[in-house]
């Protein structure tokens, strides 16, 4: 295969403007959506070129929330940037913490006690419930069902976030993981409350699905909209539910088997069409699988320490080397790449943001659809600007 064969990529051929200039088709209209727009989920901007109501070109513009997180982390200690990772994906701070801890543990060769491994899985899966519940709520908001589904989703999210608050002291900025374990051991009461919540969670999902999944408007607005084919999705590095909606069986929990995930019995839901509807269903099905994982974790949670006794909190200096740690975050593959030169600060600290890379094919997904559909497509990709712009 030669390099010239690679022009199958749409962007390699330049923007595909298909405007017809005749008496019925006038000039193209360029619309700048965002950065202050309620439907762009934060300070995200897309510059869309419209032919009538249809999108012929769409360029995402980033950087409105950029604060050079990586440079700040390179100027502080390893532990010092742990609270700051909460601010990357502020809906899922628990799993972002874990991704960072995973990379540092890989860099320093640390081990994690069994109880902490279970607690991490509990927190990560609760976070997945929070994130996916929020996402389906916001997706319906984008579809025009103003606020009712979102409030149902937020009711459930609030219960989980209350649990996080009672455990870590903060609703969203949990700062819970440490290198070699976790920060706080939950009490039996907390575990009981969490377990009850998880057992009741499928009722919320059933209620939600009864109301919304079969809704005619919902089906008309999502089925066949924003299709993505698996070949392009893999090449563009799309990960998480967006990739699995195209039918690609790739879940880092199964592939890498990090933490204690190989001990758990769960399935990876897969879509068939790669459209917005499949991406919505992926979230619903993943929440059901997360509930299974959580129930198993609460049943099997062992007693024991939550920190590795050899873990060093003060004066933590991993020896020179580099490591790339990744995990299956709710939004996709979240990775941290660290280079150590033996000093207390990382020499290089890099976040692989799933939200940013999942936007690579946004233009291809939106081409030929209306501007209203682009809002729904963006909503189904699930981005958080704290992570996109870092």
């Amino acid at each position: 295969m030669s390099i010239s064969d690679l022009s199958f990529l749409p962007s390699a051929q330049g923007p595909s403007v298909r405007a017809v200039r005749d008496q019925f088709h006038g000039d193209l209209l360029e619309v700048s959506m965002g950065p202050q727009h309620p439907s762009t989920h934060g300070v995200f901007r897309m510059v869309a070129t419209l032919d009538g109501e249809l999108i012929v070109k769409l360029k995402p513009v980033f950087g409105y929330l950029h604060r050079n997180h990586e440079k700040i982390a390179e100027n502080t200690t390893y532990l010092g940037s742990m609270p700051y990772t909460d601010r990357l994906d502020y809906l899922c701070s628990m799993s972002t913490n874990w991704a960072y801890a995973l990379a540092v543990e890989k860099l320093a060769g640390q081990s994690v006690p069994d109880r902490a491994q279970y607690l991490r899985i509990i927190m990560a899966e609760l976070t997945r419930l929070v994130n996916h519940a929020c996402l389906v709520g916001f997706l319906f908001n984008d579809l025009g069902t103003s606020f009712t589904p979102l409030l149902y989703a937020f009711r459930e999210r609030e219960k989980i976030i209350d649990l996080f608050e009672s455990l870590s002291g903060s609703r969203m900025m949990c700062n819970y993981q440490r290198f070699g374990g976790c920060r706080i051991d939950p009490t039996p009461e907390w575990l009981k409350a969490a377990s009850t919540l998880v057992d009741n969670f499928p009722r919320f999902l059933d209620e939600y699905e009864t109301m919304l999944t079969g809704n005619e408007i919902m089906l008309a607005r999502t089925q066949g909209i924003g299709r993505l084919d698996p070949k392009h999705a893999i090449n563009a590095g799309i990960t998480g539910p967006v990739l699995r909606a195209c039918g690609v069986d790739y879940d880092v929990r199964k592939v890498d088997g990090y933490g204690f995930y190989p001990r758990f019995n769960f399935r990876v839901p897969l879509g068939a069409h790669g459209d917005t509807y499949d991406r919505y269903m992926m979230r619903i099905l993943e929440m059901r699988e997360s509930v299974k994982i959580l129930q198993q974790a609460f049943k099997e949670l062992p007693e024991g320490p939550i920190m590795d006794p050899k873990a060093k909190i003060r004066g933590f200096r991993p020896k020179a080397g580099e490591a790339y740690g990744r995990l299956e975050g709710p939004k996709g593959e979240l990775g941290f790449y660290l280079i150590s030169d033996g000093s207390p600060n990382p020499y290089r600290y890099r976040v692989r943001p799933p939200s940013l890379i999942n936007l690579t094919l946004l233009e291809e997904m939106c081409l030929g659809h209306t501007i209203a559909d682009s809002v729904v497509i963006l909503g189904s990709i699930d981005i958080v600007l704290g992570e996109v712009d870092r």
């Binding site: 563009a236 020896k319 150590s340 870092r390």
Partner: protein
């Protein structure tokens, strides 16, 4: 999966003209990487992607690293025998040399088809100032699109063959590359020349001159 050494040997057998160096990782992770020369990087990357045994169809992470010029002090010890028959003297001679720095692009490759990885590849620029061009791997893995734009933005590596190389996070008029190790933050990001300064300067001509300070006795 094949080890990095096996991959290197297979690549060298297929592309004898390519220069491939194994970069060892002394850390606990021990993920060693392959350093490709810029001239043959694109065809090596294509081979990695399309080879049926490796099938590295997914580039997870692409990022830059800055290695500034480093001053290295060499100490040469010479033993001089004492003519008087005493203990020989050891003379230390110190010399410093500059190790030229470079900018580096690191790619983490995985295979979704074979479910294995990572294979880490690196590309290095000649220096950090004027020869900072590397071949873009975006035509091979589309996922490098935004990430290479970010490297261009924050490190200043120019990717040849990138379809749309613009700044990603900083604004277009921004001059420097903030992730470089020698980057100095401006005192005021929002300073821009306005007419206000010149107006103040002209107004000074109309202001009474300040009384000259008397020299203290």
């Amino acid at each position: 999966m094949e080890t990095v050494e096996q991959i290197r040997d297979r690549l060298l057998a297929r592309f004898p003209a390519a220069k491939i160096t194994l970069v060892t990782n002394p850390g606990a992770a021990a993920e060693h990487s392959l350093l490709f020369d810029a001239a043959s990087a694109r065809e090596l990357a294509l081979f990695l992607r399309d080879d049926s045994a490796l099938a590295l169809d997914y580039c997870s992470n692409a990022t830059g690293v800055d290695w500034p010029d480093k001053e290295i002090t060499d100490v040469v010890k010479t033993t001089v025998p004492d003519p008087a028959g005493g203990a020989p003297k050891i003379i230390e001679q110190k010399s410093t040399r500059m190790q030229p720095g470079c900018l580096e692009a690191v790619y983490h490759l995985y295979s979704m088809a074979k479910k294995n990885g990572p294979v880490v590849i690196r590309l290095r620029t000649v220096n950090r100032t004027d020869q900072v061009t590397l071949p873009s791997l975006t035509p091979v893995w589309r996922s490098c699109d935004f990430q290479e734009r970010e490297i261009f933005d924050l490190y200043g590596i120019i990717f040849e063959g990138h379809p749309d190389l613009r700044r990603l996070l900083m604004w277009d008029e921004f001059k420097d590359h903030p992730m470089r190790k020698d980057y100095v933050e401006p005192d005021d990001y929002e300073w821009e020349p306005t007419a206000h300064g010149t107006v103040l300067e002209r107004a000074k001509a109309h202001q009474p001159a300040a009384p000259a300070k008397e020299a203290k006795p």
